[in-house]
């Protein structure tokens, strides 16, 4: 028979630590997912604002060009509107680049997150059950030990 060198209290404490870890990491994983969604929503809101500014800027630029065409002998400066359209376009493109980077990273992250979720839902409870069985067998062995041994 294999020798048993195990302290019941130490194993019980470690099992409790595993359980705490499982609950705490579930919350960590949930918060990670929430942060991803919140940032995506924030970027989409920013993109939406810049899209609206771009549309408005284009309309104002077009109106300026019409005024310039109508007043051929009096020069009309539309460069401010053109700059605003250019800036809005650049800001929108910048946000789109970040959105694409995040989408790509989320795909890579999903693999690790999925494996970790399996670990929390399946492997960790199994380890806790195994420890519980070991602790129970130690209790049983202690009960049948002859006095004074």
């Amino acid at each position: 028979m294999a020798a048993i060198h195990a302290d019941i209290d130490a194993l019980t404490e470690f099992r409790a630590a595993l359980t705490r870890f499982r609950y705490a990491q579930r919350e960590v994983a949930d918060r990670g997912g929430d942060t991803i969604e919140a940032t995506r929503a924030s970027l989409e809101a920013k993109a939406s604002r810049w899209r609206a500014r771009l549309e408005q800027g284009r309309a104002e630029l077009a109106a300026c060009h019409e005024r310039a065409a109508a007043a051929a002998d009096a020069p009309v400066d539309c460069s401010g509107y053109a700059r605003a359209v250019s800036e809005a376009g650049e800001r929108l493109e910048h946000i789109r680049c970040w959105q694409q980077r995040i989408d790509q990273q989320v795909i890579e992250f999903h693999g690790a997150a999925s494996r970790f979720k399996d670990l929390l839902e399946t492997d960790l409870p199994r380890a806790e059950e195994q420890l519980a069985a070991i602790i129970a067998s130690l209790h049983a062995a202690r009960r049948v030990q002859p006095p004074g041994s």
Binding site: H5, A6, F14, A17, T35, L43, H94, I95, W98, D123
Partner: protein, 73 residues
């Protein structure tokens, strides 16, 4: 002003450190074949997979922080 919430990856790292400490405390009191098997087949994969996930989460959170900062209006 309310404090910024802690990043989940940092909380996850802290939880893994606590579990690692608990394992290190248990090991001197658990020195048999079952312990060695548990260490090889349960504890080591659990710790390694947790580390991999937390590294991926850290990279993800870093990217999200950078995106928010870089797109501030």
């Amino acid at each position: 002003m309310s404090p910024l919430p802690a990043r989940p990856d940092r909380d996850g790292d802290q939880q893994l450190r606590l579990l690692d400490d608990a394992w290190e405390k248990a090991v001197p009191h658990w020195q048999d074949d079952v312990a060695r098997q548990f260490g090889t087949h349960q504890w080591t994969p659990l710790r390694d997979e947790s580390r991999l996930y937390l590294e991926a989460l850290r990279a993800m959170m870093d990217l999200l922080d950078a995106a928010e900062r870089d797109t501030e209006q």
